[in-house]
């Protein structure tokens, strides 16, 4: 940790504090703070984008030649599982570090977290009901579990962020829902590729938007 020298006495009236220095300090401090407190770190989003495309792309390669469609092979599933676990742990760790000491309106409230979790989980009984109704296994056990949670959770997240007037995550949520909707029409095998590429684009776009916002000057808009 770098300790800034005590400038309170030396520059108590700001006498020798040049406006250019002040502008540079204001911009630098604002940009550093934005970087430190950002819960969605751009580098993590970029890594996640590459990983999600690699994992879903691997699944797609394993299912694209299947006629009829049987679903991902058991040798691919451990990669998916490891990705989900590593992604979850990295997200929680980075988010916790970034938001340490920050409290207030920008933090997700327990009710909002519950709504998000419920939206994600509520999809699965619906899919189970469709299986009992005789819908094809390729759709019920592969296509829907991949795409429908993205649509429902993406729209729910977008709604929560829109209510907070936080438009960047609202756009990300909408983007995820659109990826899910497009994947729904790509068929059981094609959906893996569509979702992989779609999430890659959405995550990289979100990372770019965060970097742009963090680097934006306060003094020279």
């Amino acid at each position: 940790m770098n300790h800034t020298p005590d400038t309170s006495s030396a520059a108590g009236n700001g006498g020798d504090f040049d406006p250019r220095q002040a502008a540079a300090l204001l911009d630098r401090t604002t940009q550093q703070t934005r970087r430190h407190i950002e819960p969605a770190q751009p580098w993590l989003l970029a890594i996640r984008a590459v990983m999600v495309m690699a994992v879903l792309g691997t699944v797609w390669l394993s299912v694209r030649g299947q006629h009829p469609y049987k679903g991902p092979t058991s040798s691919v599933l451990p990669f998916v599982f490891v990705f989900v676990v590593v992604n979850f742990l990295a997200t929680v760790t980075v988010r916790k570090r970034a938001t340490a000491g920050v409290s207030g309106r920008s933090r997700l409230r327990p009710a909002e977290i519950a709504v998000l979790a419920l939206a994600w989980v509520a999809v699965f009984p619906l899919i189970g009901a469709m299986a009992r109704a005789g819908v094809s296994g390729a759709i019920v056990y592969s296509l829907f579990p991949l795409t429908v949670p993205l649509i429902v959770a993406g729209l729910t997240w977008a709604g929560i962020e829109a209510a907070r007037a936080d438009w960047r995550p609202c756009g990300t949520g909408t983007g995820i829902a659109i990826v899910g909707a497009v994947g729904l029409f790509a068929g059981p095998a094609g959906a893996w590729a569509v979702v992989g590429v779609g999430l890659f684009i959405v995550l990289l776009g979100s990372a770019a938007a965060i970097v742009w916002r963090q680097r934006r000057s306060v003094v020279r808009p």
Partner: protein, 98 residues
Amino acid sequence: MTHELDPLIHVPTRLKIVATLAALPDGDTLSFTRLQDMLGLTPGNLIIQLRKLEEAGYLSSEKTRNGSAQKTTVALTRQGRKALDAYTQALRDLLGGL
């Protein structure tokens, strides 16, 4: 057009404090320890500067007690945000005229 820089903000340490708190989303607060960590200031120096800003109505602080631990959180007030906006505009005017 005025080029006067608010003397309360136009001090490196206090400018860093105000800029840090202004970068938080509206309605958020920051703990004293995180603020100290981010700015790299000594506790004594930070307390002095925070007190000056609080006396001017630019920031508010709140102390909460959780068992034996006491936590202090600070946030920029609406008046503080307006003062920083005016300060930033004055900087723009000055730099534009240089």
